[in-house]
Subunit: 224 residues, 2 copies
């Protein structure tokens, strides 16, 4: 069982495949710039430190995307991956919590290019509400239900202090939000139909710390 994922929600496709999908898309988009027309599973594998068999298995879950003897058509594959990931249409995202992290996220340019539009921000501080940051209006958290429905916001980034995270999450769930990227160092309790992906920065540093300090297992063999 994977920590960090809401395990009650599982897809037809292995979770681990899902995690790689965006990596495939990123690489394929890079390759598109090179003018190359097709790419083989082993090229993709090399670029992501995977095996060719795994690339084929992963892509195979979504139909017969490649042509034997040739490989995968880069443009088609990119389009298909965007479709699978749902980033062929723009998704509206809310940022909840306009502290320093929230502001950094509002300024982050990596979202728009990936099909995510930050449609609104929310906070409880009177001094922030009503203002704009980086072109995004800051609403009061109490207005989340209204704004989320009006602007069809299904995804939210939670960047409030730990002690306010659960209550903010509850408002989010009552607002029709279906997915939460959670930066608060707290395990959120949410209804069945809401997915949570935690991004706990301190936890990730702790894991790094463990990795660099502990003895190692023999590296796994990998085909070349």
């Amino acid at each position: 069982m994977e920590p960090g994922w809401d395990n009650s929600r599982r897809t037809l496709v292995p979770i681990s495949t899902v995690k790689r999908l965006s990596l495939y898309l990123r690489l394929v988009e890079e390759l598109a710039h090179t003018g190359q027309m097709t790419v083989s599973s082993s090229q993709l594998a090399r670029g992501l430190s995977l095996t060719d068999a795994q690339v084929r298995k992963d892509l195979g879950y979504f139909g017969q995307l490649g042509r034997p003897g040739v490989g995968y058509a880069i443009a088609d594959l990119a389009e298909k991956l965007r479709e699978i990931l749902g980033t062929n249409r723009i998704s509206h995202v809310a940022v909840v919590g306009v502290g320093s992290l929230g502001r950094a996220l509002l300024r982050y340019r990596g979202f728009e290019t990936k099909g995510f539009h930050i449609a609104a921000a929310f906070d409880v501080s009177v001094s922030k509400v009503g203002r704009r940051f980086n072109g995004v209006v800051i609403h009061h958290l109490d207005d989340l239900p209204m704004v989320a429905r009006r602007d069809e916001i299904l995804l939210a980034i939670l960047a409030v202090p730990a002690d306010q995270a659960q209550s903010a999450a509850e408002i989010m769930c009552d607002s029709g939000i279906r997915g939460i990227l959670n930066f608060a160092p707290v395990r959120l309790v949410v209804p069945e139909h809401v997915a949570v992906v935690p991004v706990d920065l301190a936890v990730q540093l702790e894991q790094l710390n463990f990795l660099i300090k502990s003895p190692l297992r023999a590296p796994r063999r990998r085909r070349t």
Copy 2:
């Protein structure tokens, strides 16, 4: 194989256990505040949505930490976990890239309480170098090798634009950095002895997007 981890470095303990270790610590530290003296594997399991067997297996990798019929002594377990994770001593961390994300990280208060001290920041912009942000001196990236060695910095947070990430990473590796928390949307190529944990925000949003749009597999049964 897990994406996002440098898979050539594997520990004696399953990677998946490592990922849960910090979650155990967080929960155990919360419990410490409640005055409770011991905790059972099933209590821990409930708090983290795991099974009791898994908690015992995980903790079992590090010796006989619990007492049959009683459970785990909370204070001892916390201390042991901190020891395992290496957060019983303070680790020095560098922030490389003082853009909006870097500044947000420099302001983030969650690190110090977990035993991580941000000892220095680095950037290439002349207007930033020499100044301080949130009490942390901003050095030129070229000084990283010197400062990292002098201040015993083994961990770094990489928060530069994608096109500068690889070259910055190389400087980091040449500076004795052993672990990199990578916020740049790029797969870093690093030597064997350096661990990388990627934190690609757009990728995580894409994964959320997939999770909320795709059909579901039946939830896995879980013992109560």
